[in-house]
Symmetry: C2
Subunit: 332 residues, 2 copies
């Protein structure tokens, strides 16, 4: 993977500003993450603490907290569960890095680059099990069930995706099924948990779960677009990683299904190579495939915003609306 | 890893006979495992079902069920939790195989040999999350907390071990600390859960947890001995895998600490090579290091049996006593 130099400080700040209303709770989540990710064995402690630095923009904790605040009052359980979902997300990132053999994530050395794949696998397992332990401390088995079921679908989705690598005939429906499981599922779980632990009624809980799912779909499609047409400086990732793994994403599927005959054969040959980022992106632009994918992401974002119509107006609701717009417009 | 031809049918039968009293429950566990390890996606289903075949002798489910039966009555919760602990154990085996790059486990192709490391990591994660989900279905958060905490210590122990590979100065105490976390912890969790879900009093629960821990210590020391002086046909594993990874086990630590001066330097040079199984074992025999380790395993087995003294006599108690003797005498 190409190393890129700049930081994503600008992008992080934009997200931070958006979450001003829940800043105190998010700071609490950061403190808890730092406290929980420790080991009494020095050498293990170093690895585990590194896990703390690998997390992303804390979108999932924010989603859970905002869903809780938009539907009721935030409790200690919300904060604990926000820590749990971030740990699970980090665990999947750490294991993704083993799979990707990535040596840089968000400008921080990945665990496998520093300590090897063995330690990465184990750190991911540590994060998973610690998350499940914490989820069990909120008093009922409900959170554990929801989180266990969601995480299981995430793993299933990741397996589907891995097994589909190199399958250039992947259908648009199969693509949606994969990103629904690997990304949207955990987002739906976050917003559902937020509402459930605010004692929202079943209809509101379902609306928030739907919001999270649509947001997750929009987020992943936008993420896949960034891999093709993003800014390496802003994302902190090299471009064309999906292409290199011959992983079919929405713009590629659209282009393949738009082309016929010779041009289609040439395009598939380009994908088979997996290295021609500029040439591939040129074709995608020409066929309107990037715009098509942006449009679909936009539709999911609009559905997410519409899911909030049952809620009374509040700053948290406004932020959730803002978040839906942000995930498709973000640059990193 | 060397492929070996024979099956461990004899060893499995010996274990099966020992568990005659809980046969119906163990058969229930097998059925549940087969039912649970499915996916509605065909390609994922194939991987997940393969996970079922990779499990061991079902010692952990048996331990949980026997502890339950020796302290009260078996319930549906016991069966569910027996499935949970076997899934967690299988998850650690699948991830161990990624770490070991082992291509044969119990004469069955490992997942990574068949589908690659990526799929192995994800299958392990699937097994972990499914286990935690199932643990949450028994009604209270207690099982999730206990299992999450134990699994977390298992991961910590495995990390400690991985980070200690190549450290030929590992102390005997550090060795015990590692195997306590990576192996004895989950055994203690099994027997504790068995007793807890039979509504045993706190003292009995603690005694059973101690039994499981001592049993696990005995089991792991015996397992490490089999890697040096076992029978490849009976274990289904090639010898000297720990040596090859320069992983210090009890006989090696004893020999190192017994030798001085030149012979010690020569022995460390032998360990540094990691390939001279016969020469290493000859030295261990000469120094009584294999016998020393066998003696320590025996002591843990005796402590385990003594932990049962608070229980009324019953066939389940007798089997637990028998099990303690078995784990140190087993050949595979």
């Amino acid at each position: 993977m190409t190393r890129v130099g700049a930081t994503t400080a600008g992008s992080r700040r934009a997200v931070g500003d958006m979450f001003a209303d829940i800043r105190t709770s998010l700071e609490g989540v950061e403190r808890r993450l730092q406290e929980e990710l420790r080991s009494r064995h020095d050498n293990v402690d170093q690895v585990v603490r590194h896990g703390y630095r690998l997390g992303g923009k804390r979108l999932r904790p924010a989603l859970l907290l905002l869903a809780g605040q938009a539907t009721g009052e935030l409790t200690d359980a919300h904060e604990t569960l926000a820590v749990v979902v971030e740990m699970i997300h980090t665990a999947t990132l750490v294991h993704d890095d083993v799979l990707d053999e990535a040596d840089l994530r968000r400008h921080v050395d990945t665990v496998n680059a520093r300590w090897g794949n063995e330690t990465s696998v184990l750190l991911g397992d540590f994060l998973f099990s610690h998350a499940f332990y914490l989820a069990a401390t909120v008093g009922t088995a409900e959170a554990c069930q929801l989180i266990g079921k969601s995480t299981n679908r995430v793993c299933e989705g990741e397996m589907q995706q891995t097994l589909a690598e190199g399958d250039l005939s992947l259908s648009e429906d199969d693509y949606y099924s994969i990103i629904d499981a690997k990304t949207a599922e955990l987002c739906a779980c976050c917003s559902e948990l937020g509402a459930r632990f605010s004692d929202a009624d079943d209809q509101t809980v379902a609306a928030l779960a739907s919001y999270g799912r649509n947001l997750g779909m929009a987020f992943q499609i936008a993420d896949d677009l960034l891999d093709l047409a993003g800014d390496e400086q802003a994302t902190g990732k090299s471009l064309g990683r999906d292409l290199a793994k011959r992983k079919m994403t929405l713009p590629l599927i659209h282009a393949r299904d738009t082309l016929v005959d010779g041009p289609r054969t040439s395009f598939l040959a380009l994908l088979e190579q997996g290295t021609q980022v500029a040439a591939t992106v040129a074709t995608l632009k020409e066929l309107g495939s990037l715009d098509y994918a942006r449009g679909v992401a936009q539709q999911f974002a609009e559905k997410a915003a519409a899911d909030l119509s049952c809620l009374a107006d509040s700053p948290a609701k406004a932020t959730l609306e803002h978040l839906a717009a942000f995930v498709v417009s973000r640059q990193g």
